[in-house]
């Protein structure tokens, strides 16, 4: 029996004692003893609880910080994507506006215009369409009422436009103001300057007059704006007058130019 139930006497004694304590506690006799003990145990329990709360808050912060870092990374990626999308939409909008504007200037029923995107600017303006799109050497590139240049080299999917400022560019032009008009030849200079040469002394030309295309070259419609007179060089001892002409727009601002295919 002792082997089967070790410490039986003590066990029975403690069981009886437990019942006794249980009975006394249910009669609330032990409240007097419990009250002072609570003064010791309550601060310990409170301290432990507070420590646990602080620790869990710290861990929660670490967890949240990690989550926030991941979220931040994802949002940054999303932002880059949105910015890219936004840029694409703006580009499309600008191109659509250019198309609409172009349609209001050169009648699409008269001219078959091919919209092209500038993809590089050096001596020539490089565009993203070539022979596969019907671009040929000698065709004119325009933007609204303005002449941009002439196609000089064509590959399968890209072409070069010779600008008015190119030294090899020569275009018959005239300027018009209220007093009259002056005819001449627009010759490109190195840099951004264009020179209008072969103007007769008796012809009227003034600063800020607009210069238009004559249209005698065949590939170019008459009346396209070529630039604005910025300076007149009138020397008595020379046969012709000259005028410096500056472009009316910056070629780098263009999102879209149009090649007159037919």
């Amino acid at each position: 029996m002792t082997k089967l139930l070790p410490n039986l006497k003590l066990f029975i004694f403690l069981i009886i004692l437990s019942f006794l304590i249980l009975g006394l506690d249910s009669l609330q006799v032990l409240n007097l003893i419990k009250k002072p003990i609570f003064y010791i145990t309550n601060p310990i329990s409170f301290g432990l609880y507070q420590t646990q709360q602080n620790l869990s808050r710290q861990f929660y912060f670490v967890f949240e910080a990690r989550f926030a870092a991941q979220e931040n990374k994802a949002l940054k990626q999303q932002l880059v994507q949105l910015l890219s999308e936004n840029a694409q939409l703006r580009k499309n909008l600008a191109e659509t506006e250019s198309l609409l504007s172009q349609a209001s200037h050169l009648d699409p029923r008269t001219y078959n215009l091919l919209p092209v995107r500038p993809i590089g600017l050096g001596r020539y303006l490089k565009i993203d369409k070539g022979s596969s799109s019907g671009v040929k050497v000698g065709q004119a590139a325009v933007y609204n009422d303005n002449y941009v240049g002439k196609i000089t080299a064509v590959s399968q999917n890209a072409s070069n436009i010779q600008l008015l400022t190119d030294p090899d560019s020569k275009v018959a032009a005239f300027s018009q103001n209220l007093e009259g008009k002056a005819k001449g030849v627009l010759v490109g200079q190195f840099g951004t300057e264009i020179l209008m040469d072969k103007i007769l002394h008796e012809e009227q030309i003034a600063v800020s007059d607009l210069v238009y295309s004559e249209g005698t070259e065949g590939f170019l419609p008459r009346g396209l704006i070529l630039g604005r007179v910025s300076q007149i060089m009138d020397r008595e001892n020379e046969t012709f007058k000259q005028a410096k002409v500056e472009p009316v727009f910056d070629i780098r601002d263009l999102d879209l130019v149009f090649v007159i295919v037919e």
């Binding site: 403690l14 004692l17 249980l22 006394l24 329990s45 432990l48």
Partner: protein
């Protein structure tokens, strides 16, 4: 013994404030499983009183439960299979189910019974390596 009492007091505060696991009871069960002695019953009684007090339960109620469980463990520890440490897991599982007498806490009981094995090893290590025993006097 003093260290064990101190550990049990600390554990009593921990399990009544922040960690709702019966770690103290597990230590008592594991100690009873390793060693059969009257101190286990004293510890069960005292620890039961402390937990009842801290949990605001009727004093003596948990002492009764703990005494019963410890005595049951001591009885089981005398069986021939008791030498196997791994058996502490099913034993503690059954005893804790008795203690809770509620099937809704089975997941908690599973966790506690799984914890009983490392606790058993810890208690074994403690009792074998860190408890100073009386000198053995040899009869010459």
């Amino acid at each position: 013994m003093k260290t064990l009492i101190l550990i049990l007091i600390v554990i009593a505060f921990i399990e009544t404030t922040i960690l709702p696991l019966n770690l103290g009871l597990l230590i008592l069960i594991c100690r009873s499983y390793i060693k059969t002695e009257d101190k286990n019953l004293y510890l069960a009684f005292g620890f039961g009183l402390l937990i009842s007090f801290l949990n605001l339960s009727p004093l003596g109620l948990l002492s009764l439960k703990y005494l019963g469980l410890v005595q049951l463990t001591q009885m089981l520890s005398t069986s021939p299979l008791a030498g196997r440490s791994i058996l502490i897991i099913p034993i503690s599982f059954v005893l804790l189910l008795f203690y809770h007498h509620n099937l809704q806490v089975v997941p908690k009981v599973i966790i506690e019974s799984l914890l009983s094995l490392p606790i058993l090893y810890f208690v074994k290590l403690w009792e074998e390596r860190f408890i100073v025993r009386k000198e053995i006097k040899l009869r010459v």
